[in-house]
Structures are given as C-alpha cells and as structure tokens.
C-alpha cells in the first residue's frame, strides 16, 4: 500500500538511509542534518552491498522495525565491495525499490560519474562540499526540496 506525502511530509517521518563507507562523512552528515533540524530518522550502511541487504531485509537487516524502508537514499559513489553505481543499478532494476528517490552524495565531480548516475536513474547528484557550512547548506536544500516541496511515495512501513 502506498501513501503519498504532501507538503506536510514532516508529519510522516520516513527515515533517510545513507550509504557511505567513510565514518567521518557519516558523522558529518548526521551533524549537518541535525544542524538544519531534520528530524527524520537517519540510518547508515557502509557500502553498496550492505545497502542492498538493508533494502531487501537480508542478514542483520531482517527486522523491519530496526530497518525501516527508507523514504530517501543518500548514496556515496565510491565504495568498496559494491560501488554506488552498482547499487544504484540494482535498486532501479527492482520494481519494489525503484520508486525510492536516490540522491548521489559524493566527492567526485567527474563529468562521467554525473552522467552515469543520471543514466542509471539517480534523482539528483550532489558533490560533497568542502566545508561544514557547505554541507549544512546542502542538507538544508535537501530538506527543502525532498521533505517540503516535492511529494514522494511512501510505502507501508510494515511491507517488505
């Protein structure tokens, strides 16, 4: 069952799932999200493989309560084991998963990475800013756009 969030998305706090192998970046992202008062639950995975395990509720992500289906995915591009590109490709080829907006958040600003990301169905591509203030700005922008302006499909939290 699919619910729609409207401009009042804040009322339905879906979780945000971030896949990034760098603990510093995960920490900085969490700080920046807190800084701009995003109250959505943040979940973290360390690479593309863990991301797919999470989304498909495999292994240690079996429990839907502990691993709720995210409303938004922040995806690092260069990760070990399974890269952002590979993970994105898999997500977008799964009928069940492809409606989840994926925002690529990476250090790369290489033109071919940007092109490939959109080619594979990324919903937006953001190069990680150099400063923390910049990162806060990005998160604020994300909040404004994805949590307030646009409507995104929300799955039943208990569906698989």
């Amino acid at each position: 069952m699919i619910e729609l969030t409207g401009n009042m998305a804040g009322n339905i706090p879906f979780s945000i799932l971030m896949a990034d192998d760098d603990p510093d970046d995960r920490m900085l992202a969490e700080e920046a999200l807190a800084e701009c008062r995003i109250r959505n639950r943040m979940q973290f995975v360390e690479d593309g493989e863990a991301l797919l395990d999470y989304l498909k509720r495999r292994g240690r992500y079996k429990d839907p309560a502990a691993s709720p289906r995210p409303g938004l995915i922040l995806l690092d591009w260069n990760m070990p084991r399974k890269s952002g590109a590979e993970a994105l490709q898999e997500i977008k080829s799964e009928p069940d998963l492809r409606s989840i907006p994926v925002i690529v958040l990476t250090t790369s600003n290489a033109e071919e990475d940007i092109a490939q990301a959109y080619q594979l169905g990324a919903n937006s591509y953001i190069t990680k800013p150099v400063t923390f203030d910049g990162l806060v700005e990005v998160m604020r922008g994300l909040k404004l756009f994805w949590l307030e302006i646009v409507a995104i499909p929300l799955p039943d939290q208990h569906s698989v």
Partner: protein, 481 residues
C-alpha cells in the same frame, strides 16, 4: 703461364674489388635480364660464345654466358690463368685478339688450349661510378678480324648491362633507404608510445593524488568548521584555527587547480566549431561581477570561429580576462583589447588572437615564467590566486595544437598571444577518462544536461562552490616570488 701480378695493378685494386662486391653480382645465379643481352650479342656478332665476365683478384666469374659448353656453363668461372678479360680490366680499355696463338700476351693463356679461345674481343663493363668490373666479350674458336662495327655493338651491349646494373643498384639503394626509414619510424613510434605511456601514468598519478588528497583535506576543513562552532573557544585557539582553515582552504584550491590542469590532458573529442566572440562575451559576463565595469573596458574586434573544445576555450578566455582584471593598474581605467588576425607559421595557417591590457604588466624576462605551474610573480596578499591560471591556459592552447605566449612591460601592460590553427588538427587524440570538461563542487539537480560551467570556475564568482571560507586572518608566510 703468366702470373696475375704481371697484368698490372688495376686487377687487384682494392677499390675496384670493393665496387665489384657492392654490385652483389658475384656468385649469383644467371638472370634473364643479363642472359638476354649475351644471347642477343652472340646473334648480333655471329660468334659462338659471348660472356659477361666479372674479374676479381683470383678468378673471372661469368654472370651471364651464351654458347659455352655445358661443362663450363655450369661451373661459370675460371681462374685468372684462363682469363683474357683480365687484360680488359688491366688496360681499362677494349682488348682485341685476332689469333691468340700469335698474340704475345695470351699465346700461353690456359684458355687457348683448354677452352679453344682463338679470337677475343672484350670491352670494359663498368659500374655506375665508372669503376671497371670486368668485360663484356665475344669469343671465336677460329682466327677472326674484329670490325669497328662489332666493337661498337659490343660496347653498346656493355653499356646496356651497365644500365641494368645502375637501375638495380638504385632500386636496391631505395629499398635500403625505405627499410631504414621504416626502422626509424618504428623506433620513433615505439619511443612516442613509451613517452605517451609515461605521460599517461604521470597524469593518472597527479590526477589520483590531487583527488585523493582533497578527501582528507575536506575532513580537516569540515571538522575545523565544527570546532569553530564550539562555544567558549579561547581567542588564541580561535585565531590559530582560522589560520589553519585558511591554509587548508588554500591547499584545497591548489589541489583543485592541479586536478583541472592534469585533466586537461586531451582535447575533448569530438571538437566543435567555437564562436570565439560568444566565448569572450560569456567570459566577460561572468567576470563583470568580480571586476565591475569590465564590460566597458573590453573592446572586442571581430573574432573568427575556430574548431575546438568550447569549454576549454571558454576557460582560457575567462582566465586571461581574470588575469587582466586582477593585474590592472589602480591609477588608470582598465582597457582590454581583443583582436584576431590570420598569420602563417611554417606553412601552417593560424588565427592569432591577442588579448592586450594596460595593467601592471611584467618584466620582459618573466614572459615564460608566468606560464609555469604554481608560478607567481607577486605576493599572495597583493594578488590572490594559485599560480595555475596561465599554466592551464597554455595547456589548453597546446591541446588545440596552438601556442600561448606573452609580452609585457612593467606599468604599461601585458599582451597574450594565442595561436590557433585555422584547419583543425588531424591528429586525433583519444580523450582519456578525465579529459572531458570538469566542474567544481556544485549541486546538480534533476537535469544532467544542465549548467556545466567550465573547470576553472572554482574561483569564479557565480559558481555554486559551496562555502569556501574567507580567511579572516591573512596567512603570514605568504611571500612568494
């Protein structure tokens, strides 16, 4: 029997023997080209035997023969003791014998009894340089008076043989030259490939290094930012932190420019026609915010359309204009003239585009130095920048098979001269992974085809280069050349 020494020095002349060897004819099988000549001469002169005889210091070798008995025809040589031809060589002139048995020079020659040589007429066979190789000769088994006509015919045949030889040697020489050329070309190609590989490896290294170094630097800056937000930081610690952040920010810009530079390895393919006037106008628009009044300061004469990478050329003009704006004089209004004219350099036609300003200029001796990587002529606090701008410009020009040079005079101005070929380069360079246009930190949303500002926009004012901190305290150790 006569010893060969008595026939004179020419037979054993080392230069002659060397020339004979050079012909490549001794000990080679019979060939139709020469056999036709001896057969034709035999019919023409109506004699039983005609020989094309090559004389070295111990034997005569018949490169071609017509009419010899089978036994001798298969051996194709005799010792000099059985040679009349050696006298043609020794005398370097025709040698004619009516009846060998009566001739003082050859009556004891082995050929008289063993081979039945009674009458002999031989004319010199020479190589292209005139070195005597042997004799073209006619032989009869009975006494014979040789007519002038016969001698003339035989000389003609000898000349035909020489012509054949000349052609062969020339052809041989051409083949050898071609082989040498091929070898040289192969060697050159290998060297070029090896150079290219080294260059690629170095490029990859610089690219990876500057990219990977930015990663930890970003953390340093971001955690530094977080520390700055902590309340109750002692003032001195705050000041150190600002210096630390300023230095980190500078390093970030240096690495960004280095990355841009290293990524300019190749011209993005395919190239497109680039309307330079448009490119310049865009560059002026972008820089107007940084240098108010720039639009009126720039005078642009008609500029040609060139074949190239529009992003790189845009970047080049942004950099040149930024340079003119940055190094303007404070006491006179800034003027920048941009004009183009066709020129010819070494048979290649170029557009020469000149960007001339009335700024602070530079000493003539620095005209090359300013294009160096990380090269600066001024203290950083006087003129900001990484010292990469002109290096990037020159690289772009070179990527377009062109050049970029400069002239200048202190407090008069500087002129940057860009040469771009009129005809696009035929050299096709494969753009490497990083060769395409790059952009700096920016947010791209929803529209992959969207705004793609060219690479060096890191410092351009309209870039969404999110939050590079402005140094509160100028770094102290900023003195550079």
């Amino acid at each position: 029997m006569q010893s060969e020494l008595s026939v004179g020095g020419e037979v054993t002349n080392p230069q002659r023997l060397a020339a004979l060897k050079r012909t490549g004819l001794p000990d080679t099988p019979p060939e139709p080209a020469f056999d036709r000549l001896t057969a034709l001469a035999r019919r023409t002169l109506n004699v039983p035997v005609v020989l094309l005889s090559l004389v070295d210091d111990r034997r005569q070798f018949f490169k071609s023969q017509s009419g010899l008995p089978d036994s001798l025809a298969s051996i194709r040589e005799t010792p000099l003791s059985h040679s009349f031809c050696r006298y043609v060589v020794a005398g370097q002139s025709p040698f004619s014998v009516e009846d060998a048995r009566q001739h003082p020079l050859v009556r004891d020659n082995g050929a008289v009894d063993d081979l039945g040589v009674i009458a002999y007429l031989g004319v010199p066979l020479r190589d292209p340089e005139g070195q005597i190789l042997g004799s073209f000769c006619a032989i009869d088994h009975v006494p014979r008076h040789w007519t002038t006509d016969e001698a003339a015919s035989l000389t003609d045949f000898a000349d035909l043989a020489r012509a054949e030889l000349t052609l062969r040697l020339a052809l041989d020489e051409a083949r050898k030259a071609q082989e040498r050329l091929c070898r040289a070309e192969r060697a050159m190609r290998q060297q070029a490939e090896s150079c290219q590989r080294q260059h690629d490896a170095l490029q990859e290294f610089v690219s990876t290094a500057s990219h990977d170094l930015r990663e930890p630097l970003r953390k340093i800056l971001q955690f530094g930012n977080l520390i700055r937000r902590q309340p109750g930081l002692p003032p001195s610690a705050g000041q150190y932190l600002e210096r630390l952040l300023a230095a980190g920010d500078r390093m970030h810009r240096l690495l960004a420019d280095l990355l841009t530079y290293s990524r300019l390895a190749s011209l993005a393919q395919p190239t497109r026609p680039v309307y330079q006037e448009r490119v310049v106008a865009d560059a002026v628009d972008i820089l107007e915010a940084r240098y108010p009044g720039l639009r009126t300061a720039v005078r642009v004469a008609p500029l040609p359309t060139v074949e190239g990478d529009p992003n790189q050329l845009h970047q080049l003009f942004v950099q040149l204009l930024d340079n003119a704006g940055k190094f303007r004089r404070t006491d006179v209004p800034l003027l920048i003239d941009i004009a183009a004219e066709p020129v010819c350099r070494g048979q290649v036609h170029y557009w020469q585009v000149t960007v001339r300003d009335n700024g602070i200029g530079f000493e003539a001796g620095h005209a090359e130095r300013i294009f160096g990587v990380f090269e600066r002529l001024h203290a950083r606090e006087d003129f900001p920048g990484t010292g990469m701008g002109l290096a990037i410009c020159r690289r772009i020009a070179e990527r377009h098979s062109g050049t970029l040079t400069a002239t200048g005079a202190p407090n008069v101005g500087a002129a940057f001269v860009l040469l771009l070929p009129v005809e696009p380069s035929e050299k096709v360079e494969i753009a490497d992974d990083f060769a395409d246009k790059k952009t700096n930190a920016r947010v791209v949303s929803g529209n992959p085809e969207g705004v793609a500002p060219p690479p060096n926009f890191a410092s351009a004012p309209n870039t969404i280069d999110v939050g590079v901190p402005t140094p509160v305290v100028s770094p102290t150790s900023s003195e550079e050349r």
